[in-house]
Symmetry: C2
Subunit: 337 residues, 2 copies
């Protein structure tokens, strides 16, 4: 075994403003010994999430901030190397909040699920068959409730969550319009993910006009990963009874209030709903959702893109890529054998 | 019969900014003759609604603007004087969108319902047993979904809608906190409508601090009639899974964008819902809701307050009172016999 040690990425300092590489530090320790009831997981892939910006911020969020000096919080997939728990066996593949480290001794609540789709790449457990795919599934279907023929707009449309949301909208018979940054992602939206139209928000002078052109019948569902001026523009074009699923607010600088017209009057006029959600509140939907997502992949109706870089030491770089929008697909870190 | 004529209030000009008395004009015409299938209603009470500000504005709202020179749109209650429709008989009491006029020849779709609570004052059909009471009922129960022990905040808490919403919250076992303008309305909230706490938003220096004091366990449901800075402050204090029912936006100058922090991040962190609604979309709830509201009145669990002025010529003055917040209870116009 090449790694007789456990390498891990810890939070070295809390970012002021945007996170930087030097907010993280690579540390080397010994491989942890699993305690009573724990399992030892050897991570194969680490996931990188836009939400990590919030996890390392001191601002109030939906989870406690990662402590200074603590292992960076993150989803991972790997194999159980040793188990002190009769419910788990060595050799099983599991995914969960194992952190940015090569080895993790975890209590069972940290395990999200066993990975049983052995016909599909294990890395999918961190993306399309993980929290990302389920975020799209729950947010679009349960909050957005799209009906055939409706128009669904998705922001960060080529991302790990957005690309799944857009494709599920198409599977449900909707017109899907993607908003993404840059021509490469817009091209990907049209050619890989089947959107009916794609808007490059970095290139258009007037996002409202671009949305009006792409959504001639108005907007029924908005799957929002960004907030900001795109949300403002969507609110001006929602149809009666529209549903806005708030999945992320990456355009907002956390802790800094941006001003915009209040949405309440548009919501009233359209009798529309705007609802925030967090996929981890919807564990009950995972068995059904993951089975359906996996089936859509096997049928060729749901595709995904991964952006893999190698080596745990590059995990912070992966986060920089995600926050800069430079990744093309789900950002993953592959760990060495 | 004293009135051989039909006096009516028409929209003389469209307001620039806040409506004024001279935007309206009293006209006198002949009593209309009901056409085929129509009924002739003699109005007894006219209702005055904050939403009228929107109805006479050219800005996009949820209904077509009242045309210039047209009879002012409004709810009324009266008796059928003549009927060309076999479904309606002379002598029946009905309520509906009959307009600000003494006599109305209307098609049946304008009739909201027959008034059958003969043990209760007929004027209640325009308030607590009309659109106001049903707005509170649908908005609080269907959108707000309060659970026993939760904290419910209501704005315009002493108004026709708000006072019903606050009392229904109490009936459902919640802590009810009212926000109203001025000591008289706050006193009314505490002594007549049973709120646990009342906040005079005109008197407090910091609405956020006042809400924190009145809602030590946070806010689970906000029944919002106003929008504006009170909504902003509530959003900072919502609990996980909170529900915000957007019923009105009276604090906003229609057509003029006010800037505020975007609510999407608070909605995401709290996994909360903000939803606009219009009671007229919920006709199916009227039979159940009106029966329950009437029963609560008979049991002394639901009280209401009316602010009655006499004479159709004073209807525009009634609207000025409502928009200035000067009315104490449902603003009604009683027509002469």
């Amino acid at each position: 075994m090449r790694n007789a040690e456990n390498r891990r990425i810890v939070l070295a300092s809390r970012p002021e403003g945007a996170p930087r590489l030097d907010n993280f530090r690579l540390e080397t320790g010994s491989i942890p010994i699993p305690g009573p009831g724990q399992v030892l997981v050897r991570n194969r892939f680490l996931g990188v999430e836009p939400a990590m910006r919030g996890w390392i911020s001191a601002a109030k969020g939906y989870s406690e901030p990662v402590p200074l000096g603590g292992v960076m919080r993150g989803f991972a997939v790997g194999e159980i190397a040793a188990s002190n728990n009769p419910d788990y066996q060595a050799g099983e593949t599991v995914t969960g909040l194992f952190g940015w480290q090569e080895w993790a001794a975890v209590d069972p609540p940290a395990i999200l699920r066993r990975v049983t789709e052995t016909d599909l790449p294990v890395s999918t457990a961190l993306g399309v068959l993980g929290v990302n795919g389920m975020t799209a599934y729950v947010g679009l279907l349960d909050i957005g409730q799209p009906k055939p023929g409706e128009t669904v707009v998705v922001s960060t449309a080529a991302g790990a969550v957005g690309s799944a949301a857009g494709q599920i909208a198409k599977i449900k018979g909707c017109r899907a319009v993607g908003v993404a940054g840059g021509p490469a992602k817009c091209h990907q939206c049209l050619t890989e993910f089947g959107y009916d139209a794609a808007i490059d928000y970095k290139a258009v002078a007037d996002i409202g006009a671009a949305l009006r052109q792409a959504c001639p019948d108005g907007i029924d569902v908005y799957f929002d990963n960004v907030g900001g001026p795109i949300l403002d523009a969507v609110l001006e074009q929602i149809n009666l009874g529209a549903r806005i699923a708030i999945c992320g607010t990456i355009s907002a600088t956390i802790g800094e209030g941006q001003l915009a017209p209040r949405p309440n009057r548009q919501l009233l006029i359209a009798r529309a709903k705007m609802q925030g959600f967090l996929v981890l509140d919807h564990f009950g939907r995972f068995p059904t959702g993951l089975a359906e997502l996996a089936q859509w992949i096997r049928e060729g109706r749901l595709t995904y893109r991964e952006d893999i870089i190698d080596g745990i030491e590059r995990a912070p770089e992966g986060l920089m890529r995600v926050l800069a929008g430079a990744n093309m697909g789900k950002q993953l870190i592959r760990l060495a054998d």
